[in-house]
């Protein structure tokens, strides 16, 4: 049995949302991003892992759970609000089952009721409100490898001070240890954005590997012997795995078009607009504006208007997901056989996706994954699922290459995060970092209120660094919100900075900000000191 496989398949899901939590409001629209992802992606993934484990189906998956997401998942306020969210949805789903009896929507109404009940069961009975325990359980079993990400998904190639790069990694690694009981072995660099040399700070935090977009390795030097089908070691010894385009294309291309199949659920036809207003109003936000509420009764149907969509048939859609999983597996088998012959070495095919694509956007995506895991386990011997750590243990001998600067954004470099819509941010961001570094150097042993203020400054700086703000400004949606967030964090930093330097810290002002931006409760501001960064880099270089 051992070693029969011809190559490896590593599935990498990047789960991330920016830290969105507004205690100053009772009800806040953008918090829904998190609740929707919980119901449509994070809990459904755990549901799959539970079922597969229950049936003794072996599987491997690598998932980033970014520090902002981990902080939201363990936050008491969001926990309560999430309960409110799924209970409301469940209440509506139950009403809908009654309303739709003897209609063509009965099956789909039943599906939502079943799903929201399962959400509640998983969240309350399995994980007692802490879904990180669920993920940790599968990591401890060796099925799931959880990796971290920069503290707030900071875009590292646009940082000038290395202290900022070090702080993003160090805060993330510390947060990971707190939640999962050991250090992270791998990291997802936000936006796959890599700046040559920065990996020394990964090494300094015990991180052994990260991921790159295809051309990060293809344009590396010297030429990569195995293309993207084997990891490489950076000069510092940290390994880099690179993205396979064929499997990426397979899922998302026009001609294969898995998610665009006419039998799958139509995203844009939503009950939030379809239902009678007074009936749906209790499930809308307090402003009463109709918006998507995540329950949809129609399928894509074809190229027809939204009013001509046909009713969704859950059974038919699930069969299609099974068929697509079969197709995907078949293609991986052929690809890996071919690569094995061509390379003379067992290739690793790394498929990287946003986790939220599975479920939130492609509603049947979790079904697809479940079928794929099962088929890979039972129906073939060519492909073995693997995590990067396992791969490096089996194949420690890899080529040393300096990868190229790269990202997975449009055009492959930094333009999505640096263009006319967001370039104004950087002078403010860099100034905040510079001041943060100066204060950390100046106050090596702060305590009392000064220490509290400095720690809060560190939180504000890292929150301002989230690549999400620049990204949302570029794509133009949620631009007002993202602009506001960046300005708020920067201004809060400036306010605290001025109070600290003027030796007049106002406790009330500080406490208010602590209450709003409570991410990283254990942060130590000295992570920004030049000494900390230099010592870490020096130790890692030895």
């Amino acid at each position: 049995m051992e070693n029969k496989e011809k190559g490896y398949f590593a599935l990498v899901l990047h789960a991330h949302l920016p830290f969105i939590r507004h205690p100053e409001y009772d009800d806040f629209l953008e918090e829904d991003w998190y609740f929707e992802a919980m119901c449509e992606t994070y809990l459904p993934l755990l549901d799959i892992y539970e079922r597969l484990t229950g049936e003794n189906t072996d599987f491997r998956v690598t998932m980033s759970l970014t520090p902002p997401l981990c902080n939201m998942m363990t936050d008491d306020l969001l926990r309560e609000r999430f309960r409110r969210y799924y209970n409301q949805r469940l209440e509506l789903a139950e009403k809908e089952v009654v309303r739709n009896r003897n209609t063509q929507f009965y099956e789909v109404a039943k599906m939502y009721e079943r799903k929201f009940r399962r959400i509640r069961e998983l969240y309350e009975d399995y994980y007692h409100g802490n879904i990180l325990d669920g993920f940790k359980k599968f990591q401890d079993m060796g099925k799931l490898e959880i990796i971290t990400c920069g503290a707030t998904h900071g875009f590292l190639p646009l940082e000038i001070r290395k202290e900022a790069v070090y702080a993003q990694i160090k805060i993330a690694a510390d947060d990971y240890k707190l939640r999962f009981g050991r250090g992270p072995r791998g990291i997802w660099l936000a936006e796959c954005a890599y700046n040559p040399g920065d990996e020394i700070y990964l090494k300094a935090n015990g991180i052994r590997y990260f991921f790159l977009e295809t051309h990060g390795i293809i344009y590396g030097s010297p030429r990569p012997r195995y293309g993207v089908y084997a990891p490489v070691y950076c000069p510092s010894g940290v390994a880099a795995f690179s993205r396979d385009m064929e499997s990426a294309h397979q899922v998302w291309s026009a001609e294969m078009g898995y998610p665009g199949d006419r039998r799958y659920r139509e995203f844009y036809r939503d009950l939030g607009y379809d239902l009678e207003y007074d009936y749906v109003k209790p499930y809308l936000h307090q402003d009463g504006v109709r918006r998507n509420i995540g329950m949809k009764y129609y399928k894509i149907t074809g190229k027809v208007g939204l009013n001509e969509k046909a009713p969704y048939n859950p059974g038919e859609a699930r069969e299609m997901a099974a068929s697509h999983a079969g197709n995907f597996m078949f293609n991986r088998e052929r690809q890996i056989e071919h690569l094995n012959g061509f390379l003379g070495r067992k290739p690793i095919v790394v498929s990287m996706y946003d986790a939220e694509l599975y479920g939130h956007w492609w509603y049947e995506g979790p079904d697809f994954l479940e079928f794929l895991f099962k088929k890979l386990h039972y129906d073939q011997k060519t492909v073995k699922m693997i995590t990067p750590s396992e791969y490096l243990e089996r194949h420690p001998d890899n080529q040393m290459i300096q990868p190229s600067m790269s990202s997975w954004g449009d055009k492959g470099y930094n333009e999505v995060w640096l263009n006319a819509s967001n370039d104004w941010m950087y002078r403010h961001l860099h100034k905040a970092v510079e001041r943060m570094v100066d204060m950390s150097n100046r106050f090596p042993n702060a305590d009392g209120i000064l220490k509290r203020a400095l720690n809060q400054c560190a939180r504000e700086v890292v929150l301002g660094m989230s690549s999400d703000w620049a990204f949302l400004m570029t794509v133009g949606t949620a631009k007002t919100y993202s602009t506001k967030r960046f300005i708020e964090h920067t201004n809060r930093f400036i306010g605290l900075y001025e109070q600290i330097m003027g030796n007049r810290i106002e406790e009330r002002y500080l406490a208010d900000i602590e209450w709003r931006d409570n991410i990283f409760s254990h942060v130590d501001y000295r992570v920004f000191s030049t000494g900390a960064q230099e010592r870490a880099a020096a130790a890692a270089r030895q």
């Binding site: 402003d287 470099y413 333009e415 201004n491």
Partner: protein, 285 residues
């Protein structure tokens, strides 16, 4: 999307922090950021004090007399004698810098060129290492492959997507991606197009001698932060400090760019009209 919701009554002003960011930080300084193999972004601040000192030393009309430039040094090797100047306006406070070759280290200096050619440097940036944007020429003996194999390897690794025109994926699913991107996506939706849309990269060895060139237009300006600005009739979003900039494709022909600013109370307005003519001649070889 905008935020919704009602305030917790227990709480004070939710938006107390929502004021604009500082215009300046009171230091003469500059920074350089990498954008891609051929572009960098520089921003700078020059304080009134620094300006006054320059005027004291070189004459009060120094800023009118001299050409404002960003001097771009190629600092890949220790010899920093290689540089070129890009004309700018010092009050623009930032600029996109195009460099002819990627894969090199650059550093910039904002300064003035006097009529007699002397250069007065005002402020220097950090150094930026740009990526090459192409397959390396360097091979590694221990891991070498025959070169025909390497070309095939590039193909199956996904280099085939380079130059294929961007976003077959994005195109067909454009509508859906829009929603997706707005809420969740990092750039997975752009994954396939990500290495396909920067042009003359790729394996060059089999190409003969060649030249590609193009140019774009950057328009910028500043006004009161709350003014309404239009360029060629299109409303422009101002940065919080009232500056704005836009990058246009610049095809051959004439381009008129009327820029209008209307004060917030709509009682005052200013207009500047810029006309640009581009002609491209190609020797056709």
């Amino acid at each position: 999307m905008t935020s919704s919701g009602q305030l917790n009554n227990k709480n004070q002003q939710p938006d107390s922090d929502y004021k604009s960011l500082p215009e300046s930080y009171g230091n003469t300084e500059a920074a350089l950021l990498p954008r891609d193999p051929n572009w960098m972004f520089i921003y700078w601040e020059i304080t009134d004090n620094s300006k006054a000192n320059l005027a004291k030393e070189h004459g009060h009309d120094i800023f009118e007399k001299a050409r404002h430039v960003v001097r771009v040094y190629d600092v890949t090797s220790a010899d920093s004698s290689k540089y070129f100047d890009i004309p700018i306006m010092i009050d623009a406070r930032n600029w996109y810098i195009n460099v002819p070759v990627g894969g090199r280290a650059y550093c910039c200096e904002v300064g003035l060129v006097l009529p007699d050619g002397r250069f007065i440097g005002i402020v220097k940036t950090n150094t930026v290492n740009l990526p090459t944007g192409r397959v390396s020429e360097v091979t590694d003996e221990k891991w070498m492959s025959v070169s025909s194999d390497f070309d095939k390897l590039l193909q199956i690794s996904g280099v085939e997507y380079i130059g294929k025109g961007s976003g077959e994926v994005a195109k067909s699913l454009a509508q859906r991606w829009e929603m997706l991107r707005s809420v969740f996506s990092r750039a997975a939706s752009w994954g396939v197009s990500s290495i396909s849309s920067h042009a003359p990269a790729g394996p060059a060895p089999e190409k003969k001698f060649w030249l590609v060139a193009d140019c774009e237009l950057i328009l910028y300006g500043a006004t009161e932060p709350d003014a309404l600005v239009t360029v060629a009739g299109r409303k422009v979003a101002l940065n919080p400090d009232g500056t704005f900039s836009m990058r246009f494709a610049l095809p051959d022909g004439n381009m008129d760019l009327p820029i209008k600013a209307l004060s917030k109370d709509e009682t005052d307005s200013r207009q500047i009209e810029i006309k640009v003519i581009r002609t491209t001649k190609n020797d056709g070889k």
